[in-house]
């Protein structure tokens, strides 16, 4: 029998690929072959979820030592010293301050919020292309439990009791959504995984899909059992080629092992999954647009109600859940609602995956309990603002999120606290901006995004986003007028109240937020004819204070 002594995992996400990860992988294989270690050392890939600065990452088991960033030229040294001589190469380790603990950390300790991995607990630890790795780490246990020890109603009850809320942005209670579908008598019913993540700044779902694809598949089968559906669709954005490839492989493996297909776990329950690739349209992340797209049409949102829970795919009852939401399902079923509720806040239990971007020292991704604050995120995980600058504002939840001024950085980040402060948590992208960011310029860029991504079906959104963009451009270029601000305020109301779907409604939010929190800065552009930060095209003009 072949005895494997060590396992070497090399990060294989696009961010790492950009930093020679493939070359590192190739050199590792080459070195190990030339030293005759092929029989004892396995080199494979993993979905990487650590900080960008540590890319590409190489983890060696069983010692669980993380090296990074690893350059191709570091490979001979690592192989010789670590894999042959058994010594740890300390000067090539991932710098401690960059590395989120990959192993399990118990709850929040003291004042420092520890990273708490629930949905990403296997990402970066297992080989995402090997179902056996997933099973060794407890994979498909939740499915077995649900199908053999629980009724569908009990599964829905467990998710409801856990208080899981949709992680795609809206925060709708997942158990309630499932119950709406479960109580429909019409069949067939469908389960859709919304993996059309296109929100600027958000790439958490990509890392879940690339790092742990089976967790989403397992969750979908459990969902299907709970609501009475036997067919599922994963709608993945077209640009996520690696995620698609890994999902296809994972589905084939799951079918082979009997976790998909007919009579799963001998329970008499059948379920299978299709993958549907997007073709480049942000709006297809909206659940009804996504459904239209699966049906082979333009991805234009439908009027709601009726909701997908009663009239979804081909008019049938349909559950649509985000990737991160689904990834929470197996651990909840496995460990129970009470276990899940120990994380986060009473009304927003669990963890949240955030991507940290912009002018911070360390960008990347974290999974932390719900309820930590922006100040903590910037100080602890972002390691402060880059170049010693001052924090000015943050945008949460990608382009459709809110703009948060410094005065709100101590508000706990959970669905309810943020809702009370009229802030949207959105998809969990945290774009941190320093004092050199101009509020007008940032909002203009955001509105440019919305006017281009508006599907054009409803007039308030199609015309409103374009008009708001033009007014902001006028202000940025020195042609702004005070009546432009009045028109913006009118447009905010129109977009929010009259748009058919969330895209147009969300487009109003950054405009509303800058007028609320940075009005003086906007007015300075108009009344004084300067951009106080010196960013806008008019900025060659300087404000001289005598």
């Amino acid at each position: 029998m072949k005895v494997i002594r060590s396992m070497v995992l090399v990060a294989s996400d696009p961010g790492s690929a950009d930093r020679d990860a493939q070359e590192v992988y190739r050199r590792l294989q080459e070195e190990i072959r030339s030293l005759g270690l092929v029989e004892e050392v396995v080199v494979t890939t993993m979905g990487c979820v650590t900080r960008q600065e540590a890319h590409p990452l190489v983890i060696i088991y069983p010692e669980a030592v993380a090296y990074g960033p690893v350059k191709p030229d570091d490979v001979p040294l690592l192989v010789e010293r670590h894999l042959r001589e058994g010594q740890i190469v300390t000067d090539r380790l991932v710098p401690k301050e960059l590395f989120g603990p990959i192993s399990w950390l118990s709850a929040r300790r003291g004042t420092l919020p520890a990273e708490q991995r629930v949905v990403l607990r296997r990402a970066g630890v297992i080989d995402p292309e090997d179902i056996e790795d997933y099973i060794i780490y407890g994979g498909y246990e939740a499915l077995g439990k649900a199908l053999t020890q629980m009724t569908p109603d009990e599964v829905v009850g467990e998710i409801s009791n856990a208080g899981l809320r949709g992680r795609g942005g809206a925060g709708f209670p997942t158990g309630l959504k499932w119950r709406f579908v479960a109580r429909e008598n019409r069949t067939p019913k469908y389960v859709i995984c919304n993996a059309d993540e296109s929100e600027p700044g958000t790439f958490k779902d990509r890392l879940i899909l690339e790092g742990d694809p089976h967790s989403v598949i397992e969750a979908m089968v459990i969902t299907g059992y709970a609501v009475g559906a036997s067919e599922g669709y994963i709608y993945v954005r077209g640009e996520y080629q690696l995620a698609q490839a890994r999902l296809r492989k994972a589905i084939a493996q799951a079918r082979e092992m009997g976790f998909l297909g007919e009579n799963i776990f001998g329970s008499g329950f059948d379920f299978d999954i299709h993958i549907h690739s997007g073709a480049g349209a942000y709006i297809c992340g909206e659940e009804t647009a996504l459904i239209e797209s699966i049906e082979g049409k333009r991805g234009e949102p439908r009027a709601r109600p009726p909701y997908p829970t009663t009239h979804g795919l081909w008019g049938q009852p349909t559950v649509v859940n985000n990737v991160e939401t689904l990834a929470n399902v197996p651990p909840i079923i496995q460990n129970g609602a009470d276990w899940y509720r120990q994380f986060g806040t009473p009304h927003s239990p669990g963890t949240k995956v955030y991507t940290i971007l912009g002018n911070v020292n360390v960008t990347g991704l974290i999974e932390v309990p719900m309820g930590i604050t922006l100040r903590e995120v910037i100080a602890i995980y972002g390691k402060g603002i880059r170049n010693g600058a001052t924090f000015k504002l943050a945008q949460t939840g990608g382009s459709s999120g809110s703009i948060i001024p410094a005065s709100l950085q101590d508000t706990p980040m959970d669905f309810d606290s943020y809702a009370r402060a009229e802030v949207s948590l959105g998809s969990g992208a945290l774009l941190i901006c320093d004092e050199n960011t101009c509020a007008v310029d940032l909002t203009r860029v955001l509105l440019n995004f919305f006017r281009k991504e508006s599907c054009g079906k409803c007039t308030p959104c199609r015309v409103g986003t374009e008009r708001a963009y033009r007014i902001l451009t006028d202000i940025a270029e020195g042609r702004g007028t005070l009546s432009g601000i009045e028109e913006l305020e009118m447009l905010i109301g129109g977009l929010r109240q009259l748009s058919n779907c969330g895209l147009g409604q969300a487009a109003a939010v950054p405009v509303r937020d800058i007028l609320r929190h940075f009005r003086a800065e906007v007015e300075a552009h108009i009344k004084l004819g300067v951009c106080p930060v010196g960013v806008c095209p008019m900025s060659e003009r300087q404000l001289v204070v005598a």
């Binding site: 960008q52 480049g280 349209a281 049906e295 912009g358 990347g364 940032l442």
Partner: protein, 159 residues
């Protein structure tokens, strides 16, 4: 990998292979068009005729779907497609300067193809690599943390 336009391929054969792969149903329309687009570099008029015939969907509807999705092209593109991410996360870490430099270097406006057929420049919304912004994608190659100074060297890699 290049996304070169392949006029030499038999359009009907490409469409028929795609339809066979996915099945002649409306549900598979986007997948079929994506395959044709990938192989031909864009979707030629003849392909619409063939898809229309095989799937029994009017050409106007096919055009309506194809023009909706950004990854589908209804006109030939250059030998290399440069996608520039213009979203806010890239913008705040130097994307604005990079965009100006890129347009100057290429002499193109977004959506345009160069006269020699070498480049097509398009803007794109986020591609999920915001941790290494600003980002450009040339064909299938991703470049992160790009500065204006690096542009000439990157572009020189593509003929």
């Amino acid at each position: 990998m290049t996304i070169a336009v392949r006029e030499d391929l038999d359009v009907r054969a490409v469409v028929q292979a795609a339809v066979e792969r996915h099945g002649a149903t409306r549900e598979e329309l986007v997948a079929i068009l994506s395959d044709v687009n990938r192989e031909m570099g864009y979707i030629p008029a003849e392909a619409f005729e063939e898809v229309s015939r095989l799937l029994q969907i009017p050409k106007a509807q096919l055009f309506s779907v194809a023009s909706f999705y950004k990854m589908l092209a209804i006109e030939p593109r250059g030998r290399h497609v440069i996608q520039f991410c213009e979203s806010a996360p890239c913008h705040v870490v130097g994307g604005g300067e990079l965009w100006r430099a890129l347009r100057e270097e290429l002499g193109l406006e977004p959506g345009e193809t160069s006269a020699d057929g070498r480049w097509t420049l398009v803007t794109t919304s986020c591609i999920g690599l915001c941790g290494v912004g600003p980002v450009i994608v040339v064909d299938d190659d991703v470049y992160g943390n790009v500065t204006p100074e690096q542009l000439p060297e990157i572009l020189a890699r593509y003929e």
